[in-house]
């Protein structure tokens, strides 16, 4: 190092300046001494001050001038020397620094080389240098990946065969671009082939470098086969999940933590009506009614997306309809458990709710209907005994009163007894009317004449404050009805209207119209035309429960006489309307009504195959429409014309323990052309049937027989011939008998006493139905 410093050039130049300076100084001194010797100094001064004495001896002057010149030169050289000296010191310092730095760099380079060598050797990525398409260098990782035992097995090999044929062209193009364009940013995936033939996917980068002074390519590659496999598995899983989400009929939504929708399936479109492009990015609140149904809100107001939820709520469709739905929400979390959002499944349960409501309503109606039926049965059951008792009370009462003189003191008391007896008669009549079976003779009845007749009576009965108006059409065809019962219907409805109006002035409108129904076009009547059990009532609330609309009975397409009784009275709320036809329900004070008025109206109208529509609202009054068919219902008693249509030649087995009855019916059915085998013992009849089950086309059996009941006989016979039509006759039709008979498979029922014509009608109904394909089947 020191030798290097000694040989530096400025040092040499500096020493020469010093010598020059010393020599010039010595010459200056010598010249000055010589000039002094010639006493020139004084002379010079005189010359300098006096131009006239210019002519002096020129020798001392010359020496003096020389000394001056050398003195100047000497000064210059001195300056040069000191300047050079300063620079030399500076340069020396600089050099020292430079040399120190260079030494450090050399050390670092060595260390770095070592480090890079280690890096290359230890790198998990394959590193390879190739020159002119041949491998010049490989690191151990590349060696391993390519399945070579040593680097020598690869060095010198062509690179191309190690690249999958599908990727070779692309790889060549990349290498060209690296070499020609100096691009160092090229990356690609390619499949390499190891020496053992194994294929593996790598992610490769290419960089141009110089290798031994020649342009080469540095190829760095990483085995990504495992990652590719994982990716493929993930893709498969993703597409599986997507197809699951797509195929779910429910609405499936994914929302981020901001509550905005990021994914929606076809169910969302089907249920809510929003296409995915309309809903993605929207807040979930768009679908909900009220705040935070899907997201939910915690008490602190933060969205509770991160919490699972299973709830029922109200949602809103795009068209504004609100519907009930079940929601299940699960939070979505990242690998560290941080919430990312939630997946929500919304199931539209409006159909289910509707069905549930309908079911509940039907059950309620069934319950109501059963209650009324049992009340009717009870009422009918006591009516016979009650009528007997009343016949006795009233009959003897009349005898007594007739025997008494006009002024007899007891007469007034007996009259009271008789009056009570008459009221009891009316009550029983109402009960029987309600229980619907008190069907009197149905005859063609002109409703207009009947209403006109009733009007007179009504004007006399109803309070004077109630103005009775009438609008009675004359073109209404006769209805098949019992006049007394129709009077009862009209009087009951009008008297009720009078009660509803009370003492305040009001109107009562009594109207009669002919009406043709068909096709269910009339929305108001649809409930009566629908396939709704005729025994049930249907009731809807209107004006928020301040009123209601009720339909009773069932109508078929056809022509009807419609009696309308409309009042301007107090009207009824929904809950009153619900009960207004119930027997013994009354809003009147004790003694004003029996609570059977409307119940008997219902019974009578149903008994006439009619229907009732009621519409009422508190303060608005009430309107009753009574529909009565103008065509005869199925005849209960045969006419001559019908009798011809009852004829047939089927073979009938008739079983009844009452000999005379069997004979009478057997004769009657014989007249219609039937081939009747009459038997009086159920067990014997069953044996005969078992022997020759195909000898008969139909069985008519009494239910109450000693030994074998009709239902038992039917069960056994149907066990042998399931297609056998069986008609059951019974004096007592309780629901248990009816249910068991229906379960067994009995086709029709007849209440005793039974007429041959009724049976013949049943027989024809059964066989005609069998010969004509049943409606609605297939």
């Amino acid at each position: 190092m020191d030798q290097q410093k000694e040989s530096i050039v400025p040092q040499v130049r500096n020493s020469r300046a010093r010598i020059d300076f010393i020599v010039a100084a010595v010459v200056t001194v010598v010249l000055y001494v010589v000039a002094a010797a010639f006493d020139m100094t004084e002379r010079f001064l005189v010359w300098a001050l006096n131009y006239e004495q210019f002519e002096l001896d020129e020798v001392p002057f010359a020496f003096g001038l020389g000394a001056l010149a050398f003195g100047w030169y000497s000064f210059r050289r001195w300056r040069e020397y000191t300047e050079a000296e300063r620079r030399t010191v500076e340069t020396r310092h600089k050099l020292t620094r430079e040399i120190d730095g260079r030494t450090a760099a050399e050390t670092a380079l060595t260390e770095s080389e070592e480090r890079y060598r280690r890096l290359v050797e230890l790198s998990p990525e394959g590193i390879m240098v190739h020159v002119d398409g041949r491998i010049a260098f490989v690191n151990p990782a590349a060696n391993r990946m390519l399945g070579a035992a040593t680097p020598e097995a690869l060095i010198g090999r062509e690179i191309a065969p190690l690249v999958h044929p599908d990727d070779r062209a692309a790889a060549r193009a990349q290498v060209r671009r690296v070499l020609n364009e100096g691009r160092a940013d090229l990356r690609a995936e390619q499949v390499l082939i190891a020496l053992d033939g194994r294929e593996f996917t790598v992610e490769t980068s290419w960089t141009p470098i110089l290798h031994a002074g020649r342009p080469a390519v540095l190829k760095v590659f990483r085995d990504i086969s495992a990652r590719k496999q994982a990716e493929a598995a993930l893709m498969q899983q993703k597409s599986l999940l997507e197809s699951i989400i797509r195929s779910v009929p429910d609405a499936v939504l994914v929302a981020g933590m901001d509550g905005r929708i990021t994914l929606s399936n076809g169910g969302v479109t089907a249920i809510f009506g929003y296409r995915p492009d309309e809903i993605i990015g929207q807040p979930t609140g768009l679908l909900t009614v009220g705040p935070g149904r899907i997201n939910g809100n915690r008490k602190d107001g933060e969205p509770a997306l991160a919490e699972p939820l299973s709830a029922e709520g109200a949602y809103r469709r795009k068209n504004g309809d609100v519907f009930p739905a079940e929601t299940v929400r699960s939070p979505i979390r990242d690998a560290k458990g941080r919430p990312l959002g939630a997946i929500t499944v919304i199931r539209d349960i409006s159909e289910r709710k509707r069905a549930d409501q309908e079911k509940a309503s039907l059950q309620e109606q069934m319950h109501q209907s059963q209650k009324l039926e049992s009340l009717g049965t009870l009422a009918g059951g006591i009516a016979h005994d009650f009528n007997n008792l009343l016949a006795i009370i009233n009959g003897y009462g009349e005898l007594v009163i007739n025997d008494l003189e006009a002024q007899h003191p007891v007469r007034k008391n007996v009259a009271e007894i008789l009056a009570a007896g008459r009221r009891a008669e009316e009550l029983v009549a109402q009960i029987l009317a309600y229980s619907r079976n008190d069907r009197r003779e149905l005859k063609p009845l002109q409703l207009d004449a009947l209403l006109t007749e009733d009007l007179g009576m009504l004007r006399a009965t109803l309070p004077a404050t109630l103005e009775v108006k009438s609008d009675i059409a004359k073109n209404v065809p006769p209805v098949m009805a019992d006049a007394t019962q129709m009077h009862q219907v009209i009087m009951n409805l009008c008297v009720n209207a009078g009660h509803a109006t009370g003492k305040s002035p009001g109107h009562l409108n009594l109207r009669l119209r002919a009406r043709t129904l068909g096709g269910g076009r009339d929305k108001q009547l649809r409930p009566l035309l629908a396939e709704w059990p005729a025994s049930l009532r249907r009731i809807d609330s209107i004006a928020n429960g301040r009123g209601g609309r009720m339909w009773i009975g069932r109508l078929h397409a056809g022509r009807y006489g419609v009696i309308t009784v409309q009042d301007t009275g107090s009207g009824m709320d929904f809950s009153t309307l619900q009960r207004v036809f119930d027997p013994f329900f009354t809003t009147k004070v004790v003694g004003d009504g029996t609570g059977l008025g409307l119940a008997s109206v219902e019974g009578i109208v149903r008994g006439h195959d009619g229907a009732i529509v009621v519409e009422t609202e508190l303060g608005q009054g009430t309107r009753f429409d009574v529909f009565l068919p103008t065509e005869a219902p199925a005849p209960t008693l045969a006419t001559t014309e019908d009798e011809q249509s009852y004829q047939g030649d089927e073979r009938i087995l008739l079983v009844d323990d009452d000999e005379s009855l069997v004979q009478a019916i057997s004769l009657g059915l014989g007249k219609f052309g039937y081939d009747v085998t009459a038997m009086t013992d159920g067990t014997e009849a069953m044996e005969a049937f078992r022997d020759t089950p195909n000898r008969w086309d139909l069985v008519v059996a009494d239910h109450m027989m000693p030994g074998l009941t009709g239902v038992e006989l039917a069960e056994q016979a149907l066990g042998i011939r399931p297609d056998l039509p069986i008609i059951l006759c019974t004096g007592l039709m309780d629901s248990a008998t009816r249910d068991s008979a229906l379960t067994v498979g009995v086709r029709e029922f007849h209440l005793k006493p039974v007429l041959a014509s009724d049976l013949a009608a049943s027989v024809r109904r059964i066989f005609n139905a069998e010969s004509v394909p049943a409606k609605g089947v297939a």
Binding site: L390, A391, G395, E398, L432, N437, R440, D658, M733, P753
Partner: protein, 124 residues
């Protein structure tokens, strides 16, 4: 003046009808059910039968059928209070089977006398 058979299982009703009819000058026999009634009809001559329908032993409908088979000229009035267990109205059936007149219970005595007179008057 006619011979009338009253068939009813209720003695008080029979008694009532007897009194009403006897006051009108008719002679009355009683039977408590259809079987007894038919027995009496076979043993004796009656111009008229007033019968109930719902009765033990033999009910009225069957009784009417029997009477119409054996003695078609006998006048028949049916008085019924309705079905015993079911509120079934048998009166139209009775009429169909040959009853000349029918009355629901409770009846007015005057109606019965009027009916009897009408039927017997027609016959005479």
């Amino acid at each position: 003046m006619a011979r009338i058979l009253v068939i009813d299982d209720e003695p008080a009703i029979r008694g009532l009808l007897r009194q009403v009819l006897e006051r009108a000058g008719h002679s009355v026999a009683e039977a408590s059910n259809g079987r007894e009634g038919i027995d009496q009809l076979e043993a004796d001559d009656f111009e008229m039968v007033i019968t109930d329908i719902v009765m033990p032993e033999r009910e009225g409908i069957e009784t009417i059928m029997r009477i119409k088979q054996g003695r078609p000229k006998t006048k028949i009035i049916v008085i019924s209070g309705g079905g015993h267990r079911l509120a079934m109205d048998f009166l139209p059936v009775a009429k169909e089977l040959g009853a000349d007149l029918t009355f629901p219970k409770p009846f007015k005595p005057a109606e019965i006398i009027e009916a009897v007179d009408t039927l017997l008057g027609k016959a005479a």
